[in-house]
């Protein structure tokens, strides 16, 4: 890949390697902003290049998001080769032959490995999955490499605003299922309800549980099974809500965990008391403990930058101040179970 050394925008006063566009505003104004907003700003300037973050990359072409990759999301290669749709050898050959020319996608279709519909469907799914995990990272450290293009080549594009809106919506969906983002990145391990009573699980869930060896995270399982990382995360959160998968204690520092507030600043109720939570390091300033139910609102509220001032009743009644984290967890389990009755 023809990499131009990127302009780091992680620290105030960083020297810019090169401007984003000739007449663009200084890159410095993007400092410390949520990554979704950074992508929007880059799109506004019709930038071409790769925004590299701690958990993934977003590729833009003339201001349109054309691809995204994340170590936490299953890539096109695993999605297409694990299921047997494309033999791994053929995939590698295509990558070698056409990667440098940025036309792997087009050639997969022209050589009959995929139909145009399959390529578009798989690409859009992989793009949004990767964008969700990339934009949701807690760290806002990022660098932009102008001019860099992805080896896949043009398939279809997504606007930066749609990308961000979708990431926010997905985060809210996960929060409604089970408001404990730590299960997304922790090794999948049996929970209190596993094996104790008869709990109905789907075939997909049983496959996940069968491959969960106590070390594999949801991302590992998704890659192993060639599944979408987001749909795997949905399944794992549901299993955690049912108690079949363990919910580890909240670990705000775990890398790659989709931060509840990374996608939309001001999404958390600012006045929720958290006496049992130590103050987080300055790099995570502004992060607060999740308020269960705080995400139960329309995503458009986030887009307007509205600060949530009122929590749903179930969140207000939630004993956030419980000093024993186990009791807090049990209370969450009880509330989740009651909600399902």
């Amino acid at each position: 890949m023809s990499g131009v050394r990127g302009a780091r925008i992680e620290a105030p006063g960083a020297t810019l390697g090169m401007p984003l566009v000739q007449h663009g505003a200084p890159l410095g104004e993007l400092l410390g902003r949520p990554l979704g907003e950074t992508v929007e700003r880059l799109a506004d300037r019709r930038a071409t290049g790769a925004l590299r973050c701690t958990s993934g990359s977003v590729y833009l072409e003339a201001g349109v998001v054309v691809h995204a990759e994340s170590e936490f999301a299953t890539g096109l290669d695993a999605l297409l080769t694990r299921c047997g749709r494309i033999p791994p050898d053929a995939w590698r050959a295509s990558l070698r032959a056409f990667g440098a020319e940025h036309r792997v996608g087009r050639m997969l279709v022209e050589q009959g490995h995929l139909t145009q519909g399959e390529l578009e469907l798989c690409h859009l799914g992989a793009l949004h999955d990767a964008a969700f995990f990339t934009l949701g990272a807690r760290s806002m450290v990022a660098s932009f490499e102008p001019g860099v293009r992805h080896w896949l080549g043009p398939v279809s594009g997504v606007s930066a605003r749609l990308l961000r809106r979708e990431a926010v919506r997905r985060r809210d969906l996960l929060e409604r299922i089970w408001p404990c983002p730590q299960v997304d990145t922790a090794p999948v391990a049996p929970g209190p309800a596993a094996g104790r009573r008869r709990v109905r699980t789907s075939l997909r869930q049983r496959e996940l549980l069968h491959h969960a060896d106590g070390r594999r995270t949801p991302a590992d399982l998704a890659r192993l099974l060639g599944r979408s990382a987001f749909s795997t995360t949905v399944e794992v959160r549901r299993l955690a809500a049912a108690g079949i998968v363990a919910t580890p204690p909240s670990d705000a520092l775990r890398p790659g965990a989709v931060a509840s507030d990374a996608l939309a600043p001001g999404a958390l109720a600012p006045d929720v008391p958290c006496p049992d939570e130590p103050l987080l390091p300055t790099t995570l300033a502004g992060l607060q403990r999740r308020t269960p139910g705080a995400a139960l609102r329309r995503p458009s509220d986030d887009l307007a930058g509205a600060t949530v001032t009122a929590c749903p009743p179930n969140a207000a009644a939630h004993p956030l101040s419980a000093h024993d984290p186990d009791i807090a967890l049990l209370n969450r389990v009880r509330i989740a179970l009651e909600a399902r009755l």
């Binding site: 399959e118 469907l121 798989c122 979708e166 997905r170 075939l203 496959e207 060639g226």
Partner: protein
């Protein structure tokens, strides 16, 4: 070889079609849309259609428990004025996709529309 947009355009040629969208029902994402939406917003409609699809696909009563890919073939909702057809799109790779066609009841024919929508869903994947 048709892509998403071509398939949606084809679906709009079905008699009585008022709107069509391709939804990812694992997330509620609209991958593409054409025509009108019952709510005036394709994204909001996709989110509601996703709830319906998920309810059926996750249900031990309605879903095929041994088919992890497409547990349901299609869902049909009828009202006095409209038909809604939700046709699941099966792919070899992992995906959770469905086509949602909104039909005018007076102009559309449910049986024909269902047949054609299934053909379009297959064409989208098989080319």
């Amino acid at each position: 070889m048709p892509g998403i947009d071509e398939c949606l355009s084809q679906a709009m040629t079905i008699a009585g079609a008022r709107g069509v969208s391709l939804i990812d029902w694992s997330s509620g994402l609209t991958l593409g849309a054409s025509g009108h939406s019952p709510t005036g917003d394709h994204e909001a409609t996709a989110a509601e259609a996703t709830d319906l699809v998920r309810a059926a696909a996750d249900s031990p009563t309605f879903a095929d428990p041994d088919d992890a890919g497409t547990p349901v073939r299609d869902i049909i909702v009828t009202s006095d004025r409209s038909y809604h057809l939700l046709c699941f799109v099966g792919t070899v790779f992992d995906s959770r996709l469905a086509l949602h066609l909104w039909l005018d009841r007076a102009e559309g024919n449910l049986a024909t529309a269902r047949f054609r929508l299934q053909a379009i869903a297959e064409e989208l994947v098989l080319g």
